[in-house]
Symmetry: C2
Subunit: 125 residues, 2 copies
DNA sequence: CCGTATCCATGCTGATACTG
DNA sequence: CAGTATCAGCATGGATACGG
């Protein structure tokens, strides 16, 4: 019984229901500083850890680790360790992760199209 | 030159470019605790302040104020004061705010469809 | 009715240093 | 190479009290 979709909301919206709403959960998941960028990079091709680190100029090792770990835990990213010396780890989108790209693109298109309207609303000319 | 859309990303992605990426900006905007729920409620009809307060069981007055103020500043919500006694204030979506509902629904559909996969990935059976 | 002001707990983010 | 450990700053969120 999640929100947004056509279904009418209960009134009042109970606390617990909002906590478990998958829509809010996904947005909060993806609304942090680095997740989307990492997902997009992995959507282009698989990357190794330091490859991502170099590809994102200002991310710290710590935040890259945390971001990837979160995505792996949610089943959106696949982590594969190759037992070479030195070790190498490859990250790639899972099938589930790839399905996320489409609705993300829809929101991206909106952002591209209306981003300047928001900016001009904030700083009126 | 935002991310996600078909355009290839620079390598490395410069810090400044990521800061100003409208896609990330929108997701962080909408990725807080209450914004989406408020937008959805206002998408159904205009609400007064205390109407929203009652409609969302566990939101504090402070957070409702902050959420609404942010949306108004971004031009997504319209605030209209009626000089009655006691005063009444009505909030409604602007045309820009209404256009946000559609891409949000796309992400909502994804969340509804795949939310349980994420949940089961987190707690493997 | 519609907020503000204050204080506080928690979490996100980053810098730096270190390890198998 | 691919992380972990520790510490610190700032932002987010909530509780409570007060004001126009």
């Amino acid at each position: 019984m999640p929100f947004i979709v056509g279904t009418p909301l209960p009134n009042p919206v109970p606390a617990e229901e909002h906590e478990r709403c998958p829509v809010t959960a996904v947005l909060r998941r993806v609304g942090d500083k680095w997740t989307v960028l990492v997902v997009v990079l992995l959507g282009q091709r698989a990357h190794r850890f330091n490859e991502l680190h170099r590809a994102i100029e200002d991310i710290s090792q710590r935040m890259l680790t945390r971001t990837l770990r979160g995505l792996v835990e949610d089943g959106l990213v696949h982590r594969e360790v190759f037992p070479t010396v030195p070790p190498s780890v490859q990250y790639s989108l899972t099938p589930l992760g790839r399905t996320l790209l489409e609705p993300l693109s829809a929101l991206a298109s909106w952002a591209v199209e209306h981003g300047d309207e928001i900016a001009s609303a904030r700083r009126p000319t």
